[in-house]
């Protein structure tokens, strides 16, 4: 339960971080570390290089733009939880963030890190998808914007290239009605199943390899969730129907 050896890099600018990503083989970006460090401790991840972006300047802002709210790569989830701007522009994100693990984890974990990690049971990717938000990725070659529908590719897999890092996530304003509901075995654990509603768009999480959009009239259509010790496939499908019903009543 100790991280394997790696070479540690602590750049101080985005440019420096991107040039490291471009030149190093098998490098991982370390932001809040609340998912990556457990993976290192379990030795499920053994990157040759860790690029710790915590000392990078200019990535710590939450600000309004283009009718939504932008959250930069080093903004902690706790800061988003406490943000007046987020509460005013995108209260759905304020509600969702309180379901992410525990406050002590949120003090360190980042929003952009959760998106880049792309855990299929995690709340924030589904929020981004339900709202049609975007991720801003940077590499030594330049910057590009990736829509949520193109960003999540599979379990822990995104459209990011190996030399790219997320510098910002953009969440459109959440108009009413909006809601997020999930069911988990213990408070703060990953959801067995969850639903995010943003007006007439529904995104489900915990029931497929990525967050998925669903039809409110038949939300379980086409779903093939896996069964495990915590929940059978049938139970997950049942949860989807119940949670969607609840969300549609919001």
């Amino acid at each position: 339960m100790k991280p394997p050896p790696f070479e540690y890099h602590a750049p101080s600018t985005v440019e420096e971080a991107c040039s490291l990503l471009a030149s190093l083989e098998d490098a991982k970006v370390l932001a809040g570390g609340q998912s990556l460090i457990p993976l290192l401790n379990f030795r499920l991840a053994r990157p040759a290089h860790l690029i710790d972006i915590n000392r990078v300047t200019g990535l710590g802002r939450i600000y309004e733009r283009d009718g939504g709210v932008a959250v930069q790569a080093l903004v902690r989830q706790a800061a988003v939880e406490d943000s007046d701007v987020v509460a005013r522009v995108c209260p759905l994100l304020t509600d969702a963030i309180q379901l992410v693990a525990h406050r002590v984890i949120r003090n360190r974990g980042t929003v952009c890190g959760s998106l880049a990690h792309a855990d299929p049971a995690s709340e924030l990717p589904a929020v981004l998808l339900a709202l049609s938000g975007q991720v801003v990725a940077r590499s030594a070659k330049g910057q590009r914007t990736i829509g949520a529908e193109e960003f999540f590719k599979g379990v822990f897999e995104t459209a990011l290239a190996p030399d790219e890092m997320v510098v910002e996530a953009w969440f459109p304003a959440s108009a009413k009605p909006y809601a997020i509901y999930e069911e988990s075995r213990r408070h703060g654990d990953f959801a067995l199943a969850g639903v995010v509603r943003a007006t007439d768009r529904l995104a489900l999480f915990g029931v497929a390899g990525t967050p998925v959009l669903a039809d409110p009239r038949d939300p379980a259509k086409g779903l093939e969730p896996s069964g495990d010790l915590e929940a059978t496939r049938e139970f997950r499908l049942h949860l989807v129907r119940v949670l969607v019903e609840k969300a549609m009543a919001a």
């Binding site: 070479e7 540690y8 401790n41 406050r103």
Partner: protein
């Protein structure tokens, strides 16, 4: 980095977890290590005043920051910190393994909510696991700590 107000030398090995650095390199064994993947909460310390899991941070990442561990709450010979006093008074600990983590989380909780509601107390201690004392007396400890902190 400063630990409990004392400037400490930098960790040598980048893969050293902050929890191990505190315990093995600095001898501050009050920070306990349970699960080493962020679930149990035993290793919680304050980083610039906010509670964090020390098993989910590399020690090198604490460079330039202020850390407080359970040893830093009340110095030898001085009265207990209000949160420690409250745990003592309400039987908020039994075997004591989880206690340092609970105490540090509650210090953070009371900084955020000086007068926590029962829901805020439950939310605030939800990230810490206790297997023997029972959460009822830990909840009472949090309420008592809020009174003592006034």
């Amino acid at each position: 980095m400063k630990v409990n107000g004392v400037e400490r030398p930098s960790p040598v090995d980048p893969r050293r977890l902050l929890s191990d650095f505190l315990r093995h390199d600095l001898g501050l064994t009050g920070t306990h290590v349970g699960c080493e993947h962020g679930v149990c909460g035993c290793c919680t310390v304050l980083l610039d005043g906010a509670p964090v899991r020390s098993c989910l941070m590399l020690a090198v990442q604490a460079e330039g920051h202020d850390l407080t561990t359970i040893e830093g709450l009340a110095r030898d010979g001085s009265p207990l910190h209000p949160v420690q006093q409250a745990f003592h008074e309400t039987h908020g600990l039994q075997c004591g393994f989880c206690t340092p983590g609970f105490v540090m989380s509650v210090v953070g909780l009371l900084a955020q909510h000086p007068n926590p509601t029962p829901e805020e107390i439950d939310e605030g201690i939800a990230g810490n696991l206790c297997r023997c004392t029972g959460y009822a007396s830990i909840r009472r400890a949090v309420s008592r700590a809020a009174e003592l902190s006034k």
